[in-house]
Symmetry: C2
Subunit: 286 residues, 2 copies
């Protein structure tokens, strides 16, 4: 039997990620049935009408009772309470996973909450962007993207392999990373850029009428400032220590630029820009 296949998947939170996951898993035959859990009837109706899920529910405890795969896909700040609500209804052998952008303490907390015989495998698909909601869900969202799993010493290997295979079948490149390393890496490559983009938009937006003259540069650098504030304030707060560390380093990089400008130090200024362009050009080449 293919270890990446499950019978009943419960997706708690049918937004961009949860909705896409439900659709993709069904289309690829990785699950027989998907139940989507949400708080608002409107989004659940949308998920049903777009055929993302087979059925819907508003109570996660009811939804997980028949599931052998449970995916936490709501806001990061709700994971702990959700697990508390569903834990007594989880069946032995069930695998619980998530799509959250911050791991840290949450992994050990959820590990300690799930009952014996239930495995928790923390995950983070690197995708998303500035759109959100079931209306933007699509079956190919994870194709060619990276999915980071953050197992610990307590993670049952069999369940880890199953979740790995599940993401692999959805088209993702799966990598393993320690939860702590994950949080530090994504503070720099994701959370800091979001914070910077929001701050830049705040700063430029305060200058009356200036934004009318925005070119492609400002549009690119502030695209992710259109991301949902509720989701990102959760992420920022849950990864606070590493985010503050990366912010300090970024503020030092800005100060280096400021000094080069103030001193009209052309050589230093060019050196800073060249160093950045080198990294960027390597990124572009993949």
């Amino acid at each position: 039997m293919n270890p990446g296949r499950f019978h009943h998947m419960a997706v708690i939170g049918v937004g961009l990620l949860g909705g896409s996951l439900a659709l993709a898993a069904r289309k690829r035959g990785l699950v027989e049935r998907v139940i989507g859990v949400g708080r608002t009837r409107k989004n659940l109706d949308l998920a049903l009408s777009r055929n993302l899920v087979d059925e819907v529910a508003t109570d996660p405890a009811v939804a997980v009772s028949a599931a052998d795969l449970v995916v936490l896909a709501g806001p990061l700040g709700t994971f702990r309470d959700t697990v508390k609500r569903i834990r007594s209804r989880l069946r032995k052998g069930t695998v619980v996973t998530d799509v959250g952008s911050v791991k840290g303490n949450l992994v050990s907390e959820i590990e300690s909450l799930v009952p014996a015989g239930v495995a928790y495998v923390a995950g983070h698909p690197i995708t998303g962007g500035s759109v959100s909601g079931a209306g933007h869900a699509r079956a190919d969202l994870f194709v060619g993207t990276r999915c980071v799993l953050t197992p610990t010493a307590s993670t049952p290997v069999e369940a880890l392999v199953r979740v790995e295979q599940f993401w692999h079948e959805l088209g993702a490149d799966v990598v393993r990373m320690a939860p702590d390393i994950h949080d530090r890496v994504f503070a720099y490559v994701s959370h800091l850029p979001h914070l910077v983009s929001y701050a830049l938009m705040d700063c430029v937006g305060e200058q009356n009428g200036h934004v009318q003259n925005a070119g492609k540069g400002l549009m690119d650098t502030t695209r992710i400032a259109g991301s949902p504030p509720e989701i990102w304030s959760d992420i920022f707060r849950m990864n606070r220590d590493y985010l503050l560390e990366s912010l300090s380093n970024f503020q030092e990089a800005l100060d280096a630029m400021r000094r080069a400008l103030e001193d009209d130090n052309e050589q230093m200024l060019k050196a800073l820009l060249r160093k950045a362009k080198e990294v960027r050009d390597r990124l572009e080449q993949g």
Copy 2:
């Protein structure tokens, strides 16, 4: 006669902007003949082989002697010296314009350098991006973009109208702005985002191996860090005062984020993110 048409155009600097301008003007029949001026034979050969220009030269003084339209399209830092080199060869009635990203003192300096009977109309097409060179030039680069002209009290109205019509025929939306206002506006909407993007790439690039995990967010925010360091260090230095002002405001916006994080002030953090998203959503709607 169409005021936007000229006989001989000399384009000094056949990079992305100069090359595209040459190609577009010829394709639309706005000029009869274009001579491209460059420093390296390699780029001039590319311009010829791509059919961007009719002929090429390495000496701008020779190139402008038959021109009734001269476009300064090389690096911003070369404009003053270029005008000094060509001024004695400019014919009466010739219009000199440019595509530089910073105006400020340069406008009055060039105005004082051009001989009587020659008009200078400063311009700035809002386009470009992270690619550069004649190899990327294309005829539709200016279609649907904005072109800012920054006339002064000394600008002859007839020449201003001709340059306006010229850009209009290339598909650009032309607006007029005082040189000083232009520099302040573009410090915020273009130069600061570039500086921020370079600084972000410097900061993240210093963390070994982290960039391998870059998602779309980091790619978007650092796209313009791939822009040519030589061009952008010139722009930063020439618009230093307004850029430093905008940088101070940006650093304050970052500090506000930092305080909200340090105090774990969820309300403040969400308010800052929501304010940014509102501006961004309005930009997206155009």
